[in-house]
Amino acid sequence: MNAPVASSHRASRLTQVRARASGNLVLGGLIIVLVALTLGMGALEPLFHALFPELRNPLYARDSFLNLMLAHIGLVLVSSLISVTIGIAAGLFVTRPVGREFEPMVSSLAAIGQTFPPAAVLAIAVPLAGFGFAPTIIALSLYGLLPVIQNTIAGLGTVPQTTLEAARGNGMSRTQILMRVELPLAMRVIIAGIRVSVIINIGTATIGSTVGAKSLGTPLIAGLVGNNLAYVIQGALLVGLLAIVTDLLFERLERRYSFGG
């Protein structure tokens, strides 16, 4: 009676292992392509010449792609750090007894923040913070806040009441319950929120170039303004690859925090 169950179990384990191995391969390949293009876009110059014979300079050369990539990652990293810190703190606050009454207000504030187009947020931020890095960070942080807040609240909400009762009944303090039970159990959903926030910001960070923040958006905007499609492709290719690789990395991180439903 047990044999077929056991063997089908083993089979599903095997396909799982296979899927994971091929997933590794895809991720590894994409990372290599991303690094190679960032460091050696110049090697593709003949290709871009062939594709865009009418352009005199089909390869963006005002800055190295490595510099642009690092600046872009820097923008995303700093703004995401701010979104995550504020977002998780706000999510925690409104799910504690002291902050419960602020929950509707915080949720709708964050939601309103997301309905503004990022360009509009930039337009407001520039007169306040000047040109360059600072207004971009403000816009990105605001923009990435909502998914983190929403998922922090949702993730903490998935922790069953009986689990919390057991934690209290076994003599855990509030902090112990939060650190040992609530956060680990909510982590998968919270990370999913961070994932959305970071991916949105990787895309949105390109707009920072319009107010003078260096990023992978710089060749993109330059290409749009100067009617140079090759620049646009070079910028977009790197932004897209960066987003996909980051997304896959987050997927693996999320998987670590699933505890069999």
């Binding site: 009944g169 003599g171 505890f259 439903g261």
Partner: protein, 356 residues
């Protein structure tokens, strides 16, 4: 020892637990029982202060629980609930180790304690230590839940319908295990259920609640033979009260001397007699068959009684195997007496003895 003194809980002016006073001595198995919503869980949770009391006092071994730091209090009290409340992100060993870890026991002591508890609940550490709650059956999860509650050797164990969500067969196994664990550990237990059979089989004391009030607090047998009022009588259940009573009475209270005979012929002067082998074990019964009163019947292991067997079980065996008497044997299997259908109607020794 747990003492409740005038314990009261009010929600919006309405008392859901109303002036309950009772004392549970060390080592007793106390059961709180009553209809749904009568305040059982509320009473239980006031003991470990998951719910604050509105009035009255609870003493745990003489200490007022209200005076103790709440986390410290809860680490002195085991708590097991119906849904187990196991932490899904921790394996079995870590779940059981919850309170010892909070108490910062050294790792080797925690490991030893986890193994000891797993052995107590017949869970093979090699197989189960590293399993996660979602990989356990309902019965196994419940065992782990109780093991966790016992981990730091608490002074009392509180259990809120721990076996309410498992199937009837598993429930019986878990009840038997709980009985054994209670005997082995000598823990004072407060156990909530709304299943009267469960209460009668486990309790040494039963507190029957109705609408927040304590209706009767007695030993199980007293609840049955001297119900305080109609509510108690009705709650215990009229239908099989006789059988319930027998489930709290033991073969040794009804045991009679067994008459031995040497030959396999029926001695017509006496209704029946026993043949024994050279080691004194019952081998055959002459007479006393329901269908064939004169037959010689080989004794089968299935219808042998022991002194500790409940009379309900003995009676059940008589009916099922169609014999009017069962041989009673000691640990070595030697015939020491018999228990018969007629005996069920009256006890052999004085009634005081049955009230235990």
């Amino acid at each position: 020892m747990i003492e409740l003194k005038g314990l009261t809980k009010r929600y919006a002016g309405k008392s859901v637990v109303d002036d309950i006073s009772l004392t549970l001595e060390d080592g007793e198995f106390g059961v709180l029982i009553g209809p749904s919503g009568c305040g059982k869980s509320t009473t239980l949770k006031m003991i470990n202060r998951l719910i604050p009391a509105s009035g009255g006092q609870i003493l745990l071994n003489g200490d007022d629980v209200a005076d103790l730091p709440v986390e410290q209090l809860r680490r002195r009290i085991g708590y097991a609930i119906q849904s187990t409340g196991l932490f899904p992100h921790w394996d079995v060993a870590r779940n059981i180790a919850t309170v010892p870890q909070l108490l910062k026991w050294p790792k080797s002591r925690i490991d030893d304690r986890v193994d000891e508890l797993m052995a107590l609940f017949h869970l093979d550490p090699a197989e189960f230590r590293g399993k996660y709650p979602h990989q356990l059956s309902g019965g196994q999860a419940q065992r782990v839940g109780v093991a966790r509650a016992l981990a730091a050797d608490p002074e009392v164990l509180l259990m809120d319908e721990p076996f309410g969500a498992v199937d009837p067969l598993t429930r019986e196994v878990l009840q038997a295990e709980m009985k054994r664990v209670h005997q082995q550990t000598g823990k004072t237990i407060v156990f909530v259920t709304h299943d009267m059979d469960e209460a009668l089989s486990l309790a040494t004391r039963i507190a029957l609640l109705n609408q927040g009030r304590l209706v009767q607090y007695d030993r199980p047998i007293e609840l049955m033979v001297e119900p305080a009022d109609d509510f108690v009588r009705e709650f215990i259940g009229q239908a099989d009260l006789g059988l319930k009573l027998l489930s709290r009475r033991w073969v040794h209270q009804y045991q009679r001397e067994a008459r031995l005979q040497q030959t396999e012929t029926l001695d017509s002067l006496h209704a029946h007699g026993w043949l024994i082998d050279d080691q004194g074990r019952p081998s055959a019964l002459a007479g006393a068959r329901l269908d064939d009163a004169d037959a010689i019947t080989r004794v089968k292991p299935e219808w042998i009684a022991t002194p500790e067997m409940s009379m309900k079980e003995a009676l059940s065996r008589m009916v099922w195997y169609r014999v009017m008497v069962l041989p009673v044997v000691d640990d070595a299997g030697k015939l020491i007496g018999e228990v018969g259908m007629q005996g069920v109607m009256g006890m052999q020794d004085e009634p005081e003895g049955a009230l235990s």
